[in-house]
Subunit: 431 residues, 2 copies
């Protein structure tokens, strides 16, 4: 071994949890996956790297400084920065063998080489579920995305409310007002309503050249509330065809969500949901914790016209939902007060009973109990202390005298009470 | 959208399964993890990249051409090529907060930028479980690794036999023969016994300068069989202290494995298990399918004196086992003849019954059945065909006439038989 030691360091901004936290994270993953499976989504696991020409198709080959790029021999590749481009590449590559609608979920790490700062990671998990149609895709799928938020958060013991809009509504209204060419700027202004308030938004819109009537129509739209009320009264705001189509789509989604058993507690229409991404073309939504909207959105997504236009002639419309894994994990981790229980029973030998302890541990494991023997050459006292530190709820002690009788001393670590049990009684207790 | 399309391609040699295969892979992962958890191992998830000075500590900073390296601003980093260096870095970084023995498992992708060829991937999964001690570590942990092979493969419906040796045995014997300085060369020769046969090995050893008596002692050692026989008769081969220590360690492991309920079907001693890695210092083992040894090892591992000598003064001995994920997946995938069942029940509307279908699907999902509605604008016939293609075992059909009566037509796709059921009867059938 070298004399001089290298200081062990991790790359800043890269994902790494303490193992006890990782247990919580893995449980969260399992609960999310469980719902995707129940909704018949297939798992996908694409490479961490993609060819640069694929990953940079959108930007026409321009390399963003956020992207990690490797050039190695004849290989020019980048670490993926999201899971959507890999999905588009995968679907286009396999369009002749896949069954449509193709429903896939993917949970994986993505990479953005920006300067790390609080809350901004360079390596982090994304969790996406998308449904891709061949040519067309029913609005039932948009509703299914919203339903999945409810199911997933319920499975995590959290209540969620998804706020839903449709790009066509705002665009149609703006267009009907003769302001179609200013749509992007107007959308950016309106997106700030929550943050800067009505007066400031009105001021900005005035600067864009809108008159009072136009401004009040837009702000009225965004401030509307009450699901059925919205769908009824919004219709009166414009005769624009695209606008009407957007309202009709929302009406269908409303019907589907009701048929799925969702209520106003689970979703509400909110035309203030803008979503930054330009590729959304219809439904858009954001998911918020029901009792903690200020924590920010814990998910979002929407409908896009064409997933893989860079790679194939085939029109592949889709709708997708994603979950903000880091934020969700923070919420779950903060609310889990108890110690993580990764070992249900530690078995400690007293005297020469190691073999009996190994036998007991095998028996417990065989019966689905997480158990281990503390076999190291340490004092009994220090082993008990260790079990306590690790949050082990029960400790089984086998002493030399008890080997013959088959009786095990079992200590409940929470109450410190001890009882004498047979193997089978111990198993029943642990179950 | 651009007119000119980019051909969708994946990086060669990078991991990507068809979604139906990915289902099988994920099930395999779950079954492996289940056993690690039962043995109280904690999960670890380290970054895909490490600082170059960390990853290249072993080679004194020399960059191997197999390694993917990025230099970006002030960051000099490489993609990990195994999970052992990240473990060493992690343990050294957290040595004051971790509880020892520290038992962790990690399943993750690693990267080796070699030229892709059949069976050699540039991105592939590794699966490691290690137990790290503080200063010392009981041989019970070596036995636990062997036990985990049995448990994991049993959970995958496969029988495994682990072949066990101890580095000290061969080294001690060679040393006792006065050939200590030729140990590496001799080990390399002996490692070929399976492949090139006894005569050729003897020839190579002669060329190394060994006499007939020395050669026959070595070959006798390797050809020994029968667990209890080996432990008894091997003792007579040498008086070398290290040799005797190796035999004693194997005797302890033998006792522990028996106490854990393992028999000669599950493990055998075989001094022919050499293992290439120089860092193994004691127990070494390789796992083979019981009925298919020629498929090659499906796992391997062993004991090392010091995990993190490059990073810390603290002595951290460990023992680890790994599973060859690609090979294991090939075996499992080939043996799973049936279609993957990711949807238990497809619900198809006939006429205007979409809402009733959505309601039924929600009911089934709530009761833990993977179900989905076929809502696209396609013919009933093509939907039935689709269900068949996807391997869905049951199709529920709701027609307009049946909405009132609450009766659902349920088709068993295997037998083509159809029956009329209530919602609850359908659920019972699917359960």
């Amino acid at each position: 071994m070298t004399e001089k030691k290298i200081v062990p360091r991790k790359l800043q901004g890269f994902w790494e949890l303490a193992p006890e936290k990782q247990v919580i994270f893995e449980e969260m993953l399992e609960k999310i996956k469980e719902i995707f499976k129940k909704h018949c989504f297939l798992p996908l696991d694409t490479p961490a790297m993609e060819l640069s020409e694929i990953l940079l198709a959108k930007s026409g080959g321009d390399i963003d400084k956020e992207i990690y790029r490797f050039v190695k021999g004849s290989t020019d590749a980048c670490l993926r920065y999201d899971l959507t481009v890999p999905l588009a590449r995968f679907v286009a590559m396999n369009e002749n063998t896949l069954s449509f609608p193709f429903k896939r979920y993917q949970i994986g790490k993505v990479y953005r080489g920006e300067r790390p700062q609080k809350g901004r990671l360079r390596e982090f998990y994304q969790c996406d579920a998308d449904i891709i149609g061949d040519g067309e895709l029913s609005l039932v799928n948009d509703a299914e995305c919203v339903k999945m938020y409810k199911d997933i958060f319920q499975n995590l013991n959290l209540a969620v409310q998804t706020e839903i809009s449709n790009r066509k509504v705002l665009f149609g209204l703006v267009n009907g007002l003769g302001l179609g060419d200013k749509f992007s700027d107007i959308a950016i202004c309106l997106d700030k309503l929550d943050k800067i308030g009505e007066d400031n938004v009105a001021e900005s819109l005035t600067q864009l050249g809108l008159d009072k009537n136009q401004i009040s129509k837009l702000i009225d739209l965004i401030k509307m509330s009450g699901n059925s009320q919205i769908l009824q009264s919004a219709s009166k705001l414009s005769n624009d065809e695209v606008f009407m189509q957007g309202i009709d789509e929302l009406k269908s989604i409303d019907e589907y969500l009701k048929a799925m058993g969702l209520t106003e507690q689970d979703y509400k229409f909110n035309f203030g949901v803008i979503r930054g991404h330009n590729y959304y073309t219809g439904t858009v939504f954001e998911a918020y914790l029901a009792n903690n909207r200020v924590a920010g959105a814990v998910g979002g997504g929407g409908r896009y016209d064409d997933l893989a236009g860079y790679f194939t002639q085939r029109k592949l419309p889709g709708v997708g939902m994603s979950i903000g894994m880091s934020r969700l994990f923070d919420i779950i981790e903060q609310s889990s007060q108890e110690k993580v229980e990764f070992c249900k029973c530690a078995v400690i030998p007293m005297g020469e009973t190691l073999k009996e302890c190994l036998n007991l541990v095998s028996f417990l494991q065989q019966n689905n109990i997480c158990a281990e023997v503390y076999a190291e050459n340490k004092s009994f006292k220090s082993k008990l202390k260790e079990a306590n530190k690790r949050g082990v709820p029960f400790v089984a002690i086998i002493g030399e005298n008890e080997v013959q009788s088959g009786i095990i001393a079992v200590k409940d670590m929470a109450s410190s009470q001890q009882q004498s049990l047979t193997k089978q009684e111990l198993l029943n207790l642990l179950r």
